[in-house]
């Protein structure tokens, strides 16, 4: 027997999908700037990457505002409760059609592993990518602000790229894990319609 609950609000869905598109585009253009392949041409890749980055910054400003005004930020408070259960489920239970140890509700929409993963993205990868990205974007002004004395483009690029790789790995796993819901597409549907089918 399954029922439907309303998990993701309209703004949240909008935020998720536009962020997803931007991140994929940033990965695409970013790795071209990194020199991994040639697609748009270096100059255009840089331009696109910069525009997409600022767009994402704008989106985040709205998202942060939304999270704090709605209190939704609490969704990301980490918990270790049931983490072991989650791991056990992904490692064994899922193959035996065992019940999912977590049942999302409107108030607790992320499972404990998700919380940890998203927190990792937001606390480690996010800041790394934003801080290094801003250093990168404002490279032209380093001498004016005196930053060139303690920054090197090589290290800024290193951390920016490292964060990008972590993000890429996250995207791969994240996309896959969307298929582990009640049905393979139920998570995806939830993120599109807002309504999730649960056991």
């Amino acid at each position: 027997m399954s029922e439907r609950i309303y998990v993701f609000k309209r703004f949240e869905r909008f935020w998720h999908w536009s962020q997803a598109a931007l991140i994929l585009f940033l990965l695409l253009t970013g790795f071209e700037v990194h020199g991994s392949y040639r697609l748009f041409g270096f100059e255009r890749a840089v331009d696109y990457h910069t525009v997409a980055a600022w767009t994402l910054v704008g989106l985040w400003v709205f998202a942060i505002f939304w999270h704090f005004t709605t209190g939704e930020w609490r969704q990301y408070i980490p918990t270790f409760q049931k983490v072991d259960a989650m791991l056990q489920y992904y490692l064994f239970g899922i193959f035996k059609n065992a019940p999912h140890p977590f049942r999302p509700t409107t108030l607790r929409k992320h499972n404990p592993l998700q919380r940890l993963a998203y927190l990792f993205i937001m606390v480690i990868v996010g800041p790394m990518i934003w801080v290094s990205g801003w250093f990168y974007i404002f490279y032209d002004y380093w001498p004016v602000w005196g930053w060139d004395r303690f920054l090197s483009l090589e290290w800024v690029a290193f951390f920016h790229t490292l964060a990008a790789f972590l993000m890429l790995a996250f995207v791969i796993v994240h996309v896959y894990l969307t298929t582990t819901g009640h049905t393979p597409l139920s998570h995806l549907k939830a993120m599109i319609t807002g309504w999730e089918e649960v056991d």
Partner: protein
């Protein structure tokens, strides 16, 4: 006349304006206005001077006439490198100049004076005893001729030919005697042609030495040189090498690697006006990103994408070690390359030529150190005739384009020093007369009073030349991809250390980690997903 005054006024106010208004980058500055000056701005018509209305017998006679009015001119010239062929580098303390340096082209002046001094601004320098204090020996005409008929040929100690002369000897070609009266009556400002009469032909021929200076710059099109373009700004050499009292600024012995910015008329500080920045400033681009690049990269690096673009090839290699080979009849011979240029000459050895040469790039801070005759060298290494110093860390360097001229030349095996050898002369010891290295070196070393062990061999040498002329129009400057993501896989700055170039200098370890991590993630989800599908099927099978 009024037009000239106006343009001068424009220049003046233009300079003031550019200095004070902090005009938006990219606006055409004073440089553009200056092109309005016309050649006919002189207040004197020399053909009306009675001092010049006579038949001169020799160059010095003309000079004496010039000095009657231009009383200080000779003494001004005598203070310059053009006269002394000597330069004391204040930074390194090295005594340089044509008189002292051994390069890897024709190598050295001593013992070959009569030949080399065809490019001296003087008359009669035929041996080491030349009188540098004689004012009448200064050659005014070679720089101030406007007729294009004044030619100084090698072998005449700096004199033009006063009689019709067969040149090159035995070539059947006749060089006409110079009409000194006509030349004297038509003197004027120096031009691309007069400066070029020596500077385009350095190293023994058109374009040989510099690569960014050759006779195609006499009347260049816009694509070849955007400033000197005959149908454009039409700069003369002196527009940038702004000369005062015959002192021509700009030097490759002590180049300005990192110019400070615009030079304004009336300004106390005297910098080198022969730099891009002295007109364009240090932030000439509308796009800030490009100005950032210009902090570390010399303008020339992007704006002179290739040199020797005028159709005249430059020499890139000169191997003296093969000189002296004779044909079956014991005669010297020449071999031509595909374009008809000399690939081998018994007198000089092997050559290589190239047009549209892509420069090499280095960090350069303006300090140049020479391997002088007395410098001890290591024959197992390529000897750097001059080494351009610089580093990404010293704060004084920029990435510069250079021509690297490679070759082989003789050195003294006993003393590990470069040798001076006697290439040309009316005696029988000259290399080009009897093709005997031993005697040519002995003679040359005796001439300069240097010790010679009696044994010589050939050593590989390299000489660097800054590339700074043949500035292309901006639309032909290098684009991002030339360095950051070159289509050929070979970036312009691949060999330049100490600079992170996005798209080119990825950290290998990070790439391995990052792609490895992503591949593992992908593999992980594929395996996990595969297992899920398999186990689900099995369950279906079980229940069925």
């Amino acid at each position: 006349m009024r037009k000239d005054l106006t343009s001068y006024a424009l220049v003046f106010f233009g300079l003031i304006a550019t200095a004070q208004a902090a005009d938006p980058p990219g606006t055409p500055s004073a440089a553009v206005v200056m092109a309005g000056r016309t050649a006919a701005s002189s207040t004197a018509d020399h053909s009306k001077f009675k001092e010049l209305d006579r038949d001169f017998k020799s160059g010095p006679e003309v000079t004496r006439a010039c000095l009657q009015c231009h009383t200080e001119a000779a003494r001004q010239v005598m203070r310059t490198k053009h006269w002394t062929w000597e330069f004391l580098n204040p930074g390194t303390g090295q005594r340089l100049g044509k008189k002292n340096v051994i390069n890897n082209f024709c190598t050295a002046v001593p013992s070959n004076y009569e030949f080399c001094t065809a490019c001296h601004v003087g008359y009669g320098w035929k041996d080491a005893n030349f009188d540098f204090s004689s004012e009448q020996n200064v050659d005014c005409l070679v720089c101030h001729d406007t007729t294009g008929t004044y030619r100084k040929l090698p072998g005449f100690a700096g004199h033009p030919v006063y009689q019709d002369t067969e040149f090159p000897p035995k070539s059947g070609k006749i060089v006409k005697a110079v009409d000194l009266k006509k030349v004297a009556q038509h003197v004027g400002k120096s031009s691309r042609k007069t400066c070029g009469s020596c500077h385009f032909f350095g190293g023994g021929g058109d374009g040989v030495k510099h690569g960014d200076l050759d006779s195609s710059l006499t009347q260049p099109g816009r694509h070849l040189d955007v400033h000197m373009a005959k149908d454009g700004l039409n700069f003369s050499c002196g527009t940038c090498h702004l000369t005062s009292g015959h002192d021509v600024p700009g030097s490759r012995y002590a180049p300005t690697a990192m110019p400070k910015g615009r030079i304004i008329r009336g300004q106390k500080e005297t910098g080198n006006p022969a730099s891009c920045e002295s007109c364009h400033g240090v932030e000439p681009h509308a796009m800030q990103r490009l100005n950032t690049h210009a902090r570390k990269i010399a303008c020339q690096t992007c704006h002179i994408p290739e040199y020797a673009r005028g159709g005249i090839p430059t020499k890139t290699l000169w191997d003296w070690s093969t000189a002296g080979r004779l044909d079956k009849e014991g005669k010297p011979f020449k071999v031509k390359d595909s374009t008809g240029r000399e690939a081998y000459d018994s007198k000089k050895g092997d050559f290589r030529w190239e047009t549209h040469v892509i420069p090499e790039y280095i960090w350069f801070n303006g300090t140049v150190n020479y391997t002088l005759r007395e410098t001890r060298l290591d024959p197992t290494q390529v000897v750097k005739i001059n080494s351009f110093e610089g580093s990404p860390m010293d704060g004084r360097s920029k990435i510069w384009p250079i021509k690297v001229f490679r070759g082989k030349q003789p050195y003294d095996v006993g003393h590990n020093q470069l040798v001076v050898f006697h290439t040309w002369g009316k005696d029988d010891a000259a290399l080009w007369t009897n093709f005997n290295w031993e005697r040519a070196i002995e003679w040359g070393m005796r001439e300069i009073g240097a010790q010679y062990s009696g044994k010589f061999a050939f050593v590989a040498t390299e000489m660097s030349w800054p590339i700074t002329h043949m500035v292309a129009p901006k639309e032909d400057a290098l684009g991002c991809a030339q360095c950051h993501a070159p289509a050929t896989g070979v970036g312009r700055l691949d060999q330049v250390p100490g600079v992170y170039i996005p798209g080119r200098s990825a950290n290998r370890a990070l790439d391995t980690f990052g792609w490895g991590l992503s591949a593992l993630a992908l593999l992980g989800v594929l395996v996990h997903g595969g297992l899920r599908i398999l186990t689900a099927r099995k369950r279906e099978g079980d229940t069925a």
